[in-house]
Symmetry: C2
Subunit: 265 residues, 2 copies
Amino acid sequence: MERAEATGDDCAVLDCPGWGTLLVTTDSVIDGVHARWHVDGPGAFGYKAIARGLSDIAAMAGEPRWAVLAACLPHDVTEEEAQALYAGAERAGCKLVGGDTAFGPTPYAVGTVIGKAHRKGPVLRSGARVGDWIVVTGPLGGSLASGKHKTFVPRVAEARELHETCDLSAMIDVSDGLSTDLHHILRASRVGARVDAAAIPRTEGATLGNALDDGEDYELLATVRPGPLPPFATRIGVVTAKDAILVHPDGREEPLVARGYEHGR
Amino acid sequence: MERAEATGDDCAVLDCPGWGTLLVTTDSVIDGVHARWHVDGPGAFGYKAIARGLSDIAAMAGEPRWAVLAACLPHDVTEEEAQALYAGAERAGCKLVGGDTAFGPTPYAVGTVIGKAHRKGPVLRSGARVGDWIVVTGPLGGSLASGKHKTFVPRVAEARELHETCDLSAMIDVSDGLSTDLHHILRASRVGARVDAAAIPRTEGATLGNALDDGEDYELLATVRPGPLPPFATRIGVVTAKDAILVHPDGREEPLVARGYEHGR
Protein backbone atom coordinates (compact mmCIF):
# COMPACT_ATOMS: atom_id res chain seq x y z
CA MET A 1 0.00 0.00 0.00
CA GLU A 2 2.83 2.41 0.66
CA ARG A 3 4.34 2.98 -2.72
CA ALA A 4 7.77 4.35 -1.76
CA GLU A 5 7.95 1.43 0.63
CA ALA A 6 7.17 -1.01 -2.16
CA THR A 7 10.43 0.05 -3.78
CA GLY A 8 12.08 -0.61 -0.45
CA ASP A 9 13.00 2.92 0.53
CA ASP A 10 11.79 6.00 2.33
CA CYS A 11 11.89 8.30 -0.70
CA ALA A 12 11.50 7.98 -4.44
CA VAL A 13 14.95 8.24 -6.04
CA LEU A 14 14.89 10.17 -9.33
CA ASP A 15 17.82 10.87 -11.61
CA CYS A 16 18.36 14.43 -12.89
CA PRO A 17 21.49 14.03 -15.06
CA GLY A 18 23.89 16.95 -14.77
CA TRP A 19 22.51 18.03 -11.41
CA GLY A 20 22.22 14.98 -9.20
CA THR A 21 19.60 12.69 -7.72
CA LEU A 22 16.26 13.93 -6.48
CA LEU A 23 14.65 12.40 -3.38
CA VAL A 24 10.87 12.84 -3.00
CA THR A 25 8.57 11.83 -0.15
CA THR A 26 4.98 12.69 0.81
CA ASP A 27 3.32 12.30 4.24
CA SER A 28 -0.09 12.95 5.77
CA VAL A 29 -0.96 14.32 9.20
CA ILE A 30 -4.70 13.80 9.75
CA ASP A 31 -6.88 15.10 12.59
CA GLY A 32 -7.59 12.28 15.02
CA VAL A 33 -5.04 9.97 13.41
CA HIS A 34 -1.61 11.62 13.61
CA ALA A 35 -2.47 14.71 15.70
CA ARG A 36 -5.52 16.48 17.13
CA TRP A 37 -6.48 19.87 15.68
CA HIS A 38 -8.17 21.26 18.81
CA VAL A 39 -5.66 19.79 21.28
CA ASP A 40 -2.28 19.96 19.57
CA GLY A 41 -3.12 23.03 17.47
CA PRO A 42 -2.69 23.72 13.75
CA GLY A 43 1.05 24.36 14.15
CA ALA A 44 1.58 20.68 15.03
CA PHE A 45 -0.02 19.68 11.71
CA GLY A 46 2.24 21.89 9.62
CA TYR A 47 5.33 20.95 11.62
CA LYS A 48 4.79 17.20 11.62
CA ALA A 49 3.75 17.04 7.94
CA ILE A 50 7.08 18.55 6.91
CA ALA A 51 9.19 16.96 9.67
CA ARG A 52 8.01 13.45 8.67
CA GLY A 53 9.28 14.16 5.16
CA LEU A 54 12.57 15.54 6.44
CA SER A 55 13.00 12.34 8.45
CA ASP A 56 12.47 10.30 5.25
CA ILE A 57 15.11 12.39 3.47
CA ALA A 58 17.43 11.88 6.47
CA ALA A 59 16.81 8.11 6.30
CA MET A 60 18.52 8.16 2.89
CA ALA A 61 21.23 10.60 4.08
CA GLY A 62 19.95 13.26 1.69
CA GLU A 63 19.87 17.02 1.89
CA PRO A 64 16.36 18.52 2.11
CA ARG A 65 15.85 21.34 -0.38
CA TRP A 66 12.21 22.31 -0.84
CA ALA A 67 8.76 21.47 0.50
CA VAL A 68 5.16 22.00 -0.55
CA LEU A 69 2.15 21.73 1.77
CA ALA A 70 -1.43 20.74 0.91
CA ALA A 71 -3.72 21.67 3.78
CA CYS A 72 -7.38 21.06 4.53
CA LEU A 73 -8.73 23.53 7.07
CA PRO A 74 -12.02 23.33 8.97
CA HIS A 75 -14.74 25.64 7.63
CA ASP A 76 -14.69 27.70 10.84
CA VAL A 77 -10.90 28.15 10.80
CA THR A 78 -9.59 31.53 11.92
CA GLU A 79 -6.89 33.46 10.08
CA GLU A 80 -4.63 32.91 13.12
CA GLU A 81 -5.09 29.12 12.94
CA ALA A 82 -4.32 29.06 9.22
CA GLN A 83 -1.19 31.13 9.80
CA ALA A 84 -0.16 28.87 12.71
CA LEU A 85 -0.33 25.85 10.40
CA TYR A 86 2.01 27.45 7.87
CA ALA A 87 4.28 28.79 10.63
CA GLY A 88 4.54 25.25 11.99
CA ALA A 89 5.49 23.97 8.54
CA GLU A 90 8.19 26.62 8.20
CA ARG A 91 9.50 25.88 11.70
CA ALA A 92 10.40 22.36 10.52
CA GLY A 93 13.32 23.95 8.71
CA CYS A 94 12.77 23.34 4.99
CA LYS A 95 12.09 26.04 2.41
CA LEU A 96 8.33 26.08 1.73
CA VAL A 97 7.89 26.85 -1.97
CA GLY A 98 4.24 26.13 -2.68
CA GLY A 99 0.97 24.71 -1.51
CA ASP A 100 -2.73 24.27 -1.83
CA THR A 101 -5.38 25.15 0.73
CA ALA A 102 -8.86 23.66 0.82
CA PHE A 103 -11.69 23.53 3.36
CA GLY A 104 -13.35 20.36 4.56
CA PRO A 105 -14.71 18.42 7.51
CA THR A 106 -11.48 16.74 8.68
CA PRO A 107 -8.39 18.95 8.91
CA TYR A 108 -5.13 17.59 7.54
CA ALA A 109 -1.73 18.63 6.26
CA VAL A 110 0.17 16.73 3.59
CA GLY A 111 3.82 17.65 3.25
CA THR A 112 5.89 16.73 0.21
CA VAL A 113 9.61 17.19 0.72
CA ILE A 114 12.12 17.23 -2.11
CA GLY A 115 15.80 16.68 -1.40
CA LYS A 116 19.06 15.99 -3.10
CA ALA A 117 20.98 12.77 -2.57
CA HIS A 118 24.48 12.98 -1.08
CA ARG A 119 27.31 12.86 -3.62
CA LYS A 120 28.17 9.43 -2.15
CA GLY A 121 24.67 8.36 -3.23
CA PRO A 122 21.45 7.71 -1.35
CA VAL A 123 21.55 5.15 1.46
CA LEU A 124 19.02 2.40 0.73
CA ARG A 125 17.43 -0.23 2.97
CA SER A 126 18.94 -3.04 0.96
CA GLY A 127 22.68 -2.68 1.66
CA ALA A 128 23.13 -4.34 5.08
CA ARG A 129 25.93 -6.94 5.13
CA VAL A 130 26.64 -9.80 7.52
CA GLY A 131 28.92 -8.51 10.29
CA ASP A 132 27.74 -4.90 10.08
CA TRP A 133 26.84 -3.21 13.33
CA ILE A 134 23.25 -2.09 13.92
CA VAL A 135 23.07 1.42 15.39
CA VAL A 136 20.41 3.92 16.44
CA THR A 137 20.76 7.68 16.84
CA GLY A 138 18.79 8.19 20.06
CA PRO A 139 16.43 6.84 22.73
CA LEU A 140 13.30 4.99 21.67
CA GLY A 141 9.81 4.39 23.08
CA GLY A 142 6.88 6.41 24.42
CA SER A 143 6.86 8.98 21.63
CA LEU A 144 3.07 9.11 21.42
CA ALA A 145 2.71 9.45 25.21
CA SER A 146 5.42 12.09 25.58
CA GLY A 147 4.39 14.12 22.56
CA LYS A 148 7.82 13.68 20.94
CA HIS A 149 6.00 12.54 17.77
CA LYS A 150 4.89 16.17 17.31
CA THR A 151 8.13 17.93 18.22
CA PHE A 152 10.95 15.60 17.10
CA VAL A 153 13.90 17.10 15.28
CA PRO A 154 14.56 15.14 12.07
CA ARG A 155 18.04 13.59 12.13
CA VAL A 156 19.22 15.24 8.91
CA ALA A 157 22.61 16.36 10.26
CA GLU A 158 23.24 13.05 12.03
CA ALA A 159 22.47 11.14 8.82
CA ARG A 160 24.98 13.18 6.86
CA GLU A 161 27.64 12.74 9.55
CA LEU A 162 27.07 8.96 9.59
CA HIS A 163 27.30 8.84 5.78
CA GLU A 164 30.47 10.94 5.70
CA THR A 165 32.36 9.42 8.65
CA CYS A 166 31.23 5.76 8.64
CA ASP A 167 30.78 3.07 6.02
CA LEU A 168 27.00 3.17 6.10
CA SER A 169 25.31 0.21 4.39
CA ALA A 170 21.58 0.66 5.08
CA MET A 171 19.32 3.11 6.90
CA ILE A 172 15.67 3.80 7.78
CA ASP A 173 13.91 6.16 10.17
CA VAL A 174 12.14 4.57 13.11
CA SER A 175 8.54 5.52 12.36
CA ASP A 176 6.76 2.16 12.60
CA GLY A 177 8.77 0.94 15.62
CA LEU A 178 12.28 -0.52 15.95
CA SER A 179 11.08 -4.14 15.69
CA THR A 180 9.18 -3.45 12.47
CA ASP A 181 11.64 -1.04 10.87
CA LEU A 182 14.56 -3.40 11.52
CA HIS A 183 12.62 -6.08 9.65
CA HIS A 184 12.21 -3.66 6.74
CA ILE A 185 16.01 -3.48 6.48
CA LEU A 186 16.48 -7.23 7.01
CA ARG A 187 13.90 -8.09 4.34
CA ALA A 188 15.31 -5.63 1.81
CA SER A 189 18.90 -6.77 2.51
CA ARG A 190 18.08 -10.51 2.83
CA VAL A 191 19.97 -10.80 6.10
CA GLY A 192 19.26 -11.48 9.80
CA ALA A 193 20.16 -9.76 13.07
CA ARG A 194 21.08 -10.30 16.70
CA VAL A 195 19.94 -7.40 18.85
CA ASP A 196 21.19 -6.86 22.42
CA ALA A 197 18.06 -5.93 24.41
CA ALA A 198 20.07 -4.15 27.11
CA ALA A 199 21.87 -1.97 24.57
CA ILE A 200 18.72 -0.40 23.11
CA PRO A 201 18.61 3.20 24.37
CA ARG A 202 15.23 3.92 25.94
CA THR A 203 13.38 7.14 26.55
CA GLU A 204 12.96 7.77 30.31
CA GLY A 205 10.15 5.57 31.59
CA ALA A 206 9.99 3.43 28.46
CA THR A 207 9.93 -0.35 28.79
CA LEU A 208 11.80 -2.64 26.40
CA GLY A 209 8.46 -3.28 24.70
CA ASN A 210 7.91 0.45 24.24
CA ALA A 211 11.38 0.89 22.75
CA LEU A 212 10.85 -2.04 20.38
CA ASP A 213 7.30 -1.46 19.23
CA ASP A 214 5.87 2.03 19.95
CA GLY A 215 7.11 3.76 16.81
CA GLU A 216 7.07 7.43 15.78
CA ASP A 217 10.51 7.91 17.36
CA TYR A 218 11.95 9.39 14.17
CA GLU A 219 15.45 8.35 15.19
CA LEU A 220 17.59 6.65 12.55
CA LEU A 221 18.27 2.92 12.47
CA ALA A 222 21.34 2.10 10.41
CA THR A 223 23.84 -0.62 9.63
CA VAL A 224 27.53 0.27 9.40
CA ARG A 225 30.80 -1.56 8.93
CA PRO A 226 32.42 -1.95 12.42
CA GLY A 227 34.55 1.07 13.34
CA PRO A 228 34.52 4.33 15.27
CA LEU A 229 31.00 5.79 15.69
CA PRO A 230 29.88 9.38 16.23
CA PRO A 231 28.91 10.02 19.88
CA PHE A 232 25.17 10.13 19.08
CA ALA A 233 25.18 6.60 17.61
CA THR A 234 24.58 3.59 19.87
CA ARG A 235 25.43 0.07 18.78
CA ILE A 236 22.51 -2.27 19.56
CA GLY A 237 23.36 -5.39 17.58
CA VAL A 238 24.96 -7.05 14.61
CA VAL A 239 23.81 -8.20 11.18
CA THR A 240 23.75 -11.99 10.73
CA ALA A 241 23.02 -14.31 7.83
CA LYS A 242 19.43 -15.05 8.86
CA ASP A 243 16.72 -14.81 11.52
CA ALA A 244 16.07 -11.86 13.83
CA ILE A 245 17.02 -12.68 17.41
CA LEU A 246 16.63 -10.60 20.57
CA VAL A 247 19.27 -11.41 23.21
CA HIS A 248 18.32 -10.66 26.82
CA PRO A 249 20.85 -9.71 29.56
CA ASP A 250 20.58 -13.22 31.08
CA GLY A 251 21.57 -14.79 27.76
CA ARG A 252 18.07 -15.90 26.92
CA GLU A 253 17.28 -15.60 23.22
CA GLU A 254 13.93 -15.11 21.51
CA PRO A 255 12.74 -14.26 18.00
CA LEU A 256 12.59 -10.50 17.44
CA VAL A 257 9.04 -10.15 16.13
CA ALA A 258 7.80 -7.09 14.22
CA ARG A 259 5.09 -5.72 16.50
CA GLY A 260 5.12 -2.05 15.42
CA TYR A 261 2.77 -0.29 13.05
CA GLU A 262 1.90 -2.22 9.92
CA HIS A 263 0.94 -0.26 6.80
CA GLY A 264 -2.09 -1.23 4.77
CA ARG A 265 -4.19 -1.44 7.98
CA MET B 1 -3.65 31.40 1.34
CA GLU B 2 -2.50 29.54 -1.74
CA ARG B 3 1.25 29.65 -1.58
CA ALA B 4 2.14 28.89 -5.20
CA GLU B 5 -0.47 31.44 -6.13
CA ALA B 6 1.14 34.05 -3.88
CA THR B 7 4.22 33.85 -6.10
CA GLY B 8 1.86 34.41 -9.03
CA ASP B 9 2.15 31.03 -10.72
CA ASP B 10 0.65 27.56 -10.86
CA CYS B 11 3.82 25.73 -9.83
CA ALA B 12 6.88 26.43 -7.73
CA VAL B 13 9.83 27.07 -10.06
CA LEU B 14 13.09 25.59 -8.73
CA ASP B 15 16.50 25.78 -10.33
CA CYS B 16 18.59 22.59 -10.67
CA PRO B 17 21.75 23.87 -12.38
CA GLY B 18 23.13 21.49 -14.98
CA TRP B 19 19.79 19.73 -15.46
CA GLY B 20 17.09 22.37 -15.82
CA THR B 21 14.21 23.89 -13.93
CA LEU B 22 11.93 21.86 -11.71
CA LEU B 23 8.20 22.63 -11.54
CA VAL B 24 6.32 21.40 -8.45
CA THR B 25 2.62 21.57 -7.60
CA THR B 26 0.41 19.88 -4.99
CA ASP B 27 -3.40 19.52 -5.06
CA SER B 28 -6.08 18.01 -2.84
CA VAL B 29 -9.20 16.07 -3.82
CA ILE B 30 -11.41 15.76 -0.72
CA ASP B 31 -14.58 13.71 -0.26
CA GLY B 32 -17.60 16.01 -0.39
CA VAL B 33 -15.53 18.96 -1.61
CA HIS B 34 -13.91 18.02 -4.94
CA ALA B 35 -15.48 14.58 -5.51
CA ARG B 36 -17.70 12.07 -3.70
CA TRP B 37 -16.17 8.76 -2.61
CA HIS B 38 -19.36 6.68 -2.73
CA VAL B 39 -20.76 8.30 -5.90
CA ASP B 40 -17.74 9.02 -8.11
CA GLY B 41 -15.65 6.15 -6.77
CA PRO B 42 -12.04 6.02 -5.52
CA GLY B 43 -10.66 6.11 -9.07
CA ALA B 44 -11.95 9.67 -9.51
CA PHE B 45 -9.92 10.74 -6.44
CA GLY B 46 -6.67 9.31 -7.76
CA TYR B 47 -7.27 10.59 -11.27
CA LYS B 48 -8.27 14.12 -10.34
CA ALA B 49 -5.51 14.54 -7.72
CA ILE B 50 -2.87 13.86 -10.36
CA ALA B 51 -4.70 15.49 -13.30
CA ARG B 52 -5.03 18.77 -11.36
CA GLY B 53 -1.27 18.78 -10.95
CA LEU B 54 -0.69 17.94 -14.60
CA SER B 55 -2.93 20.88 -15.51
CA ASP B 56 -0.76 23.14 -13.33
CA ILE B 57 2.38 21.88 -15.09
CA ALA B 58 0.62 22.46 -18.44
CA ALA B 59 -0.24 26.03 -17.37
CA MET B 60 3.51 26.74 -17.29
CA ALA B 61 4.11 24.76 -20.52
CA GLY B 62 6.21 22.24 -18.62
CA GLU B 63 6.75 18.54 -19.11
CA PRO B 64 5.34 16.33 -16.30
CA ARG B 65 7.90 13.80 -15.07
CA TRP B 66 6.92 12.19 -11.76
CA ALA B 67 4.07 12.16 -9.25
CA VAL B 68 3.55 11.05 -5.66
CA LEU B 69 0.16 10.43 -4.05
CA ALA B 70 -0.83 10.77 -0.39
CA ALA B 71 -4.15 9.05 0.21
CA CYS B 72 -6.51 8.82 3.16
CA LEU B 73 -8.84 5.82 2.88
CA PRO B 74 -11.97 5.11 4.92
CA HIS B 75 -11.49 2.49 7.65
CA ASP B 76 -13.89 0.11 5.87
CA VAL B 77 -12.12 0.43 2.51
CA THR B 78 -11.85 -2.73 0.43
CA GLU B 79 -8.68 -3.83 -1.33
CA GLU B 80 -10.48 -3.22 -4.65
CA GLU B 81 -11.30 0.38 -3.70
CA ALA B 82 -7.71 1.06 -2.68
CA GLN B 83 -6.44 -0.39 -5.95
CA ALA B 84 -9.01 1.65 -7.90
CA LEU B 85 -7.66 4.83 -6.32
CA TYR B 86 -4.11 4.06 -7.44
CA ALA B 87 -5.29 2.88 -10.85
CA GLY B 88 -7.08 6.21 -11.26
CA ALA B 89 -3.90 8.06 -10.37
CA GLU B 90 -1.91 6.07 -12.91
CA ARG B 91 -4.57 6.61 -15.58
CA ALA B 92 -3.85 10.36 -15.39
CA GLY B 93 -0.68 9.62 -17.33
CA CYS B 94 2.22 10.58 -15.07
CA LYS B 95 4.75 8.14 -13.61
CA LEU B 96 3.73 7.43 -10.00
CA VAL B 97 6.95 7.06 -8.01
CA GLY B 98 5.85 7.11 -4.39
CA GLY B 99 3.13 7.68 -1.88
CA ASP B 100 1.72 7.41 1.58
CA THR B 101 -1.50 5.71 2.64
CA ALA B 102 -3.37 6.47 5.84
CA PHE B 103 -6.83 5.69 7.18
CA GLY B 104 -9.24 8.30 8.49
CA PRO B 105 -12.82 9.54 8.56
CA THR B 106 -12.78 11.67 5.39
CA PRO B 107 -11.21 10.12 2.28
CA TYR B 108 -8.89 12.27 0.22
CA ALA B 109 -6.08 12.10 -2.32
CA VAL B 110 -3.30 14.66 -2.52
CA GLY B 111 -1.24 14.56 -5.70
CA THR B 112 2.14 16.23 -6.01
CA VAL B 113 3.39 16.47 -9.57
CA ILE B 114 6.97 17.29 -10.49
CA GLY B 115 7.82 18.46 -13.98
CA LYS B 116 10.59 20.00 -15.97
CA ALA B 117 10.29 23.44 -17.51
CA HIS B 118 10.54 23.74 -21.30
CA ARG B 119 13.97 24.76 -22.61
CA LYS B 120 12.36 28.08 -23.62
CA GLY B 121 11.60 28.55 -19.91
CA PRO B 122 8.40 28.28 -17.87
CA VAL B 123 5.45 30.46 -18.95
CA LEU B 124 4.46 32.72 -16.05
CA ARG B 125 1.28 34.66 -15.36
CA SER B 126 3.11 37.95 -15.42
CA GLY B 127 4.20 38.27 -19.06
CA ALA B 128 1.04 39.53 -20.85
CA ARG B 129 1.70 42.62 -23.01
CA VAL B 130 -0.69 45.25 -24.41
CA GLY B 131 -1.86 44.11 -27.84
CA ASP B 132 -1.46 40.38 -27.15
CA TRP B 133 -4.36 38.14 -28.05
CA ILE B 134 -6.21 36.27 -25.31
CA VAL B 135 -6.86 32.64 -26.24
CA VAL B 136 -8.44 29.54 -24.70
CA THR B 137 -7.87 25.91 -25.64
CA GLY B 138 -11.45 24.60 -25.44
CA PRO B 139 -15.08 25.13 -24.44
CA LEU B 140 -15.90 26.44 -20.98
CA GLY B 141 -18.75 26.13 -18.49
CA GLY B 142 -20.78 23.42 -16.80
CA SER B 143 -17.81 21.27 -15.79
CA LEU B 144 -19.25 20.42 -12.38
CA ALA B 145 -22.66 19.55 -13.84
CA SER B 146 -21.29 17.46 -16.70
CA GLY B 147 -18.66 15.68 -14.66
CA LYS B 148 -15.85 16.99 -16.87
CA HIS B 149 -14.09 18.12 -13.67
CA LYS B 150 -13.42 14.43 -12.93
CA THR B 151 -12.48 13.25 -16.42
CA PHE B 152 -10.74 16.22 -18.09
CA VAL B 153 -7.57 15.58 -20.03
CA PRO B 154 -4.86 18.02 -18.88
CA ARG B 155 -3.73 20.23 -21.78
CA VAL B 156 -0.07 19.25 -21.56
CA ALA B 157 0.45 18.67 -25.29
CA GLU B 158 -1.50 21.80 -26.26
CA ALA B 159 0.60 23.89 -23.86
CA ARG B 160 3.81 22.66 -25.44
CA GLU B 161 2.51 23.28 -28.94
CA LEU B 162 1.48 26.84 -28.01
CA HIS B 163 4.90 27.48 -26.44
CA GLU B 164 6.77 26.08 -29.44
CA THR B 165 4.68 27.56 -32.26
CA CYS B 166 3.47 30.91 -30.84
CA ASP B 167 5.05 33.75 -28.91
CA LEU B 168 3.34 32.87 -25.62
CA SER B 169 3.52 35.64 -23.00
CA ALA B 170 1.38 34.37 -20.09
CA MET B 171 -0.69 31.29 -19.23
CA ILE B 172 -2.90 29.80 -16.51
CA ASP B 173 -5.28 26.85 -16.35
CA VAL B 174 -8.97 27.67 -15.96
CA SER B 175 -9.67 26.13 -12.56
CA ASP B 176 -11.33 29.01 -10.70
CA GLY B 177 -13.36 30.22 -13.72
CA LEU B 178 -12.43 32.29 -16.76
CA SER B 179 -13.44 35.60 -15.17
CA THR B 180 -11.31 34.96 -12.09
CA ASP B 181 -8.35 33.30 -13.81
CA LEU B 182 -8.13 36.10 -16.40
CA HIS B 183 -7.88 38.54 -13.49
CA HIS B 184 -4.99 36.48 -12.09
CA ILE B 185 -3.10 37.09 -15.35
CA LEU B 186 -4.11 40.77 -15.54
CA ARG B 187 -3.06 41.44 -11.96
CA ALA B 188 0.28 39.63 -12.31
CA SER B 189 0.98 41.36 -15.65
CA ARG B 190 -0.41 44.79 -14.61
CA VAL B 191 -2.53 45.06 -17.75
CA GLY B 192 -6.23 45.10 -18.75
CA ALA B 193 -8.34 43.20 -21.27
CA ARG B 194 -11.26 43.46 -23.68
CA VAL B 195 -13.05 40.14 -24.02
CA ASP B 196 -15.55 39.43 -26.83
CA ALA B 197 -18.45 37.63 -25.12
CA ALA B 198 -19.59 35.97 -28.35
CA ALA B 199 -16.13 34.54 -29.01
CA ILE B 200 -15.90 32.56 -25.76
CA PRO B 201 -16.32 28.86 -26.68
CA ARG B 202 -19.02 27.30 -24.52
CA THR B 203 -19.71 23.73 -23.56
CA GLU B 204 -23.05 22.58 -25.02
CA GLY B 205 -25.84 23.98 -22.87
CA ALA B 206 -23.60 26.42 -21.01
CA THR B 207 -24.68 30.04 -20.66
CA LEU B 208 -22.25 32.95 -20.94
CA GLY B 209 -22.32 33.12 -17.13
CA ASN B 210 -21.41 29.41 -16.89
CA ALA B 211 -18.52 29.89 -19.29
CA LEU B 212 -17.24 32.92 -17.38
CA ASP B 213 -17.66 31.79 -13.80
CA ASP B 214 -18.20 28.03 -13.30
CA GLY B 215 -14.57 26.99 -13.14
CA GLU B 216 -12.92 23.55 -13.09
CA ASP B 217 -12.74 23.58 -16.90
CA TYR B 218 -8.99 22.83 -16.87
CA GLU B 219 -8.59 24.40 -20.28
CA LEU B 220 -5.69 26.81 -20.73
CA LEU B 221 -6.08 30.58 -20.86
CA ALA B 222 -3.10 32.25 -22.51
CA THR B 223 -1.90 35.50 -24.01
CA VAL B 224 0.10 35.39 -27.27
CA ARG B 225 1.56 37.88 -29.70
CA PRO B 226 -0.88 38.15 -32.70
CA GLY B 227 -0.15 35.54 -35.35
CA PRO B 228 -1.21 32.11 -36.58
CA LEU B 229 -2.80 29.94 -33.89
CA PRO B 230 -3.04 26.15 -33.58
CA PRO B 231 -6.54 24.88 -34.48
CA PHE B 232 -7.43 24.13 -30.85
CA ALA B 233 -6.85 27.75 -29.74
CA THR B 234 -9.71 30.25 -29.91
CA ARG B 235 -9.09 33.99 -29.72
CA ILE B 236 -11.51 35.57 -27.22
CA GLY B 237 -10.05 39.04 -26.69
CA VAL B 238 -7.09 41.34 -26.52
CA VAL B 239 -4.80 42.65 -23.78
CA THR B 240 -5.20 46.38 -23.07
CA ALA B 241 -3.43 48.86 -20.81
CA LYS B 242 -6.01 48.71 -18.05
CA ASP B 243 -9.50 47.61 -16.93
CA ALA B 244 -11.22 44.33 -17.79
CA ILE B 245 -14.12 44.87 -20.17
CA LEU B 246 -16.64 42.38 -21.55
CA VAL B 247 -17.99 43.38 -24.98
CA HIS B 248 -21.41 41.98 -25.90
CA PRO B 249 -22.52 41.20 -29.49
CA ASP B 250 -24.67 44.37 -29.56
CA GLY B 251 -21.64 46.53 -28.70
CA ARG B 252 -22.66 47.03 -25.09
CA GLU B 253 -19.69 47.04 -22.71
CA GLU B 254 -19.56 46.11 -19.03
CA PRO B 255 -16.82 45.49 -16.50
CA LEU B 256 -15.63 41.87 -16.53
CA VAL B 257 -15.95 40.98 -12.86
CA ALA B 258 -14.19 38.00 -11.26
CA ARG B 259 -17.09 35.84 -10.09
CA GLY B 260 -15.37 32.44 -10.05
CA TYR B 261 -13.97 30.55 -7.09
CA GLU B 262 -11.97 32.65 -4.64
CA HIS B 263 -9.27 30.94 -2.60
CA GLY B 264 -9.03 31.51 1.12
CA ARG B 265 -12.85 31.18 1.38
